[in-house]
């Protein structure tokens, strides 16, 4: 067995940083080749809250949609920044995010014949009943600080909850584990995965606000509309399921 002479005796932080730096160099070296291959492909940005790593979703979509240049964003700020600087030809997100950005869905996802789903308020040991005034409620950052507060206010039909924004859906569970939030709000369809990963006793109730639109595709560049629409309509069942839908409906 090789002796790990390279392993640190002093500073973990330095080692971690070195590895991250090296990874960055490798990615940078590879990028131009990929960029050349993606020339002329319609650029599609994807931003969804899924209980699957963004890198996995990205690899799956790139494999299934070789005619599109797919980038999957795991965080709202990265998505928002790239929307301005990356000039995507199409974006994929839940309908309210598209609407917030002034985009109109070209394809609306459906699941079980519905284009929306209910969100739930989850808490530990007992359902959060009564006034939510002043309560700390966790939610994935889908719209930035102000937009996410407005989104949550609409879902909970109140205006004075204290929003705990997290970057990724898996970061909601620690809020409950650490007692850092009174409850969390998330799509009802993701509750099964949450329950699977924790032994906390999770209680839920449907939020009083309206159901939220499922994943949708907005084509921003009319010149590539047919290409993008055909590509997404051709996705197999498991990949559509990964995106939280079972079919697309043209709008």
């Amino acid at each position: 067995m090789r002796r790990p002479d390279h392993l640190p005796g002093r500073t973990h932080g330095r080692s971690l940083a070195f590895l991250l730096s090296l990874a960055g160099c490798l990615v940078a070296a590879q990028a131009p080749r990929e960029a050349l291959a993606d020339v002329a492909k319609p650029v599609v940005h994807v931003f969804l809250q899924l209980d699957v790593k963004a890198s996995v979703v990205e690899k799956t979509l790139r494999d299934r949609l070789p005619g599109l240049a797919i980038t999957v964003f795991g965080r709202y700020r990265d998505f928002e920044e790239a929307l301005g600087s990356g000039h995507p030809d199409a974006i994929v997100s839940i309908a309210p995010v598209l609407t917030d950005k002034g985009k109109v869905p070209t394809l609306q996802g459906e699941r079980g014949g519905k284009t929306t789903e209910a969100y739930v308020l989850a808490s530990v040991n007992q359902v959060l009943e009564g006034s939510l005034s002043g309560k700390n409620i966790g939610v994935v950052d889908l719209f930035g600080r102000d937009g996410t507060q407005t989104f949550l206010d609409g879902l909970l039909k109140t205006t004075d909850v204290r929003v705990k924004r997290v970057a990724k859906i898996e970061d909601l569970l620690p809020l409950l584990e650490f007692s850092a939030a009174d409850g969390i709000v998330l799509p009802g369809s993701t509750m099964a995965q949450l329950a699977e990963r924790t032994r906390l006793v999770i209680k839920t109730k449907e939020v009083p606000g309206p159901p939220v639109g499922l994943s949708a595709v907005a084509v921003l560049n009319p010149a590539v509309r047919d290409t993008v629409v055909k590509a997404f309509e051709s996705l197999d069942g498991p990949t559509k399921q990964l995106l939280g839908v079972d079919r697309w409906r043209a709008r």
Binding site: P4, G13, L16, S21, V52, D141
Partner: protein, 346 residues
């Protein structure tokens, strides 16, 4: 020694700890910087009337990631000024930066920066003390009481987070996890034990003295691993526990291999299929840490900068690195595990 006195770290000791840690675990990657040219730090344009957030930090990669995320979140409400702290920086330099910026809030990153700030605070002054947010420091729960008007986010990944991530990867149950610790980590381990109990995970701990030998560590690991029905062993981010290759080979690698239990580690380079040691590394997600810090600052702003009573938060977001062949061959890999792994080492 009474139980009460055992449970307290003296003020002098804590101060020494703070200063000693200035050169310790969370230096944020100085070595990496030589291999990678870091982008220049450019603060957003100053807007009249907006409060100022002063960020004091080293100029290395992990800190830059946190800063970038933090600035992107707060720049709509704050002017941001960044003060780079290096080996030559004196407390008076930091003091001058604070006086010039007149910040509504100060963010301090790493133990060395906090040690400088502590020196600045110890000098009698009529300056108003701004609220302080502490990030990316070891032993933050011990450091925070030493800095007036401060709160922050701990840097160490909580055990409960690491254990729950192991559940997402390993096909078997995760109910009991062993840990070896030195006396300085006792309170940390106690806190982690209580937290892990919320997820019905029992932490079985054993201590070794500060001046332990490789044999002592190996014996401690052997006692832990034999007869305790452990599902995993957790290696703390304590440099002394991994101070040389002999410890890694003859204690950690030998005992975890013999016991056939996965070793959970806190640094990714301990996960390497060509030299198997750690099965799963769980490390801080620096960009998400920036968002959490921004949330904390906004909370303080909304609460009229009342820092008092706002306890140190735990980090919410992590990344995982997994030795996939090790799980496949020895521990069992859940069918959907790869969906939940940031970096799968093959």
């Amino acid at each position: 020694m009474s139980g009460r006195s055992r449970g307290c770290v003296s003020h002098a000791l804590r101060t020494a700890l703070l200063l000693a840690l200035g050169a310790c675990a969370t230096t944020g990657g100085g070595q990496g910087d030589s291999a990678q040219k870091l982008p220049a730090i450019v603060d957003p344009a100053i807007r009249a009337g907006a409060p100022t957030l002063l960020i004091a930090m080293p100029s290395s990669v992990n800190f830059m990631e946190v800063r970038k995320s933090l600035v992107s979140e707060v720049q709509s409400k704050f002017n941001v000024q960044t003060f780079i702290v290096g080996p030559q920086t004196r407390a008076s330099d930091l003091a001058a930066a604070i006086r010039a910026a007149k910040p509504a809030c100060v963010v301090l990153m790493n133990n060395a920066t906090m040690a400088l700030y502590r020196q600045y605070q110890m000098v009698p002054s009529t300056d108003e003390t701004p609220p302080v947010v502490l990030l990316m420091a070891s032993f933050l729960e011990e450091v925070q009481p030493l800095i007036r008007r401060s709160t922050g986010i701990a840097y160490e990944v909580p055990g409960i987070t690491a254990f729950v991530n192991l559940r997402l990867v390993m096909s078997g149950a995760v109910n009991r996890v062993g840990v070896v610790y030195r006396p300085a980590f006792r309170r940390f381990v106690e806190r982690q034990t209580a937290l892990a109990a919320r997820e019905r995970i029992e932490v079985v701990s054993t201590s070794v003295p500060n001046d332990f030998s490789p044999t002592v560590l190996r014996d401690a690991l052997h006692r832990l691993a034999s007869g305790k029905k452990l599902d995993a062993i957790w290696l703390l981010n304590d440099n002394a526990l991994v101070r040389d290759a002999e410890l890694l080979d003859d204690a950690w690698r030998a005992e975890t291999t013999a016991a056939k239990v996965p070793l959970i580690v806190g640094v990714p380079n301990f996960v390497d299929p060509s030299a198997p040691l750690g099965a799963l590394a769980v490390v801080p997600d620096h960009e998400a840490l920036g968002l959490q810090a921004a949330n904390l600052i906004f909370d303080l702003l909304d609460n009229h900068w009342h820092v008092e009573g706002h306890g140190v938060e735990l980090p919410l977001s992590v990344k995982t690195v997994v030795d996939v062949p090790m799980f496949r061959s020895t521990f069992g890999l859940r069918p959907d595990a790869l969906k939940h792994i940031d970096k799968a080492m093959e």
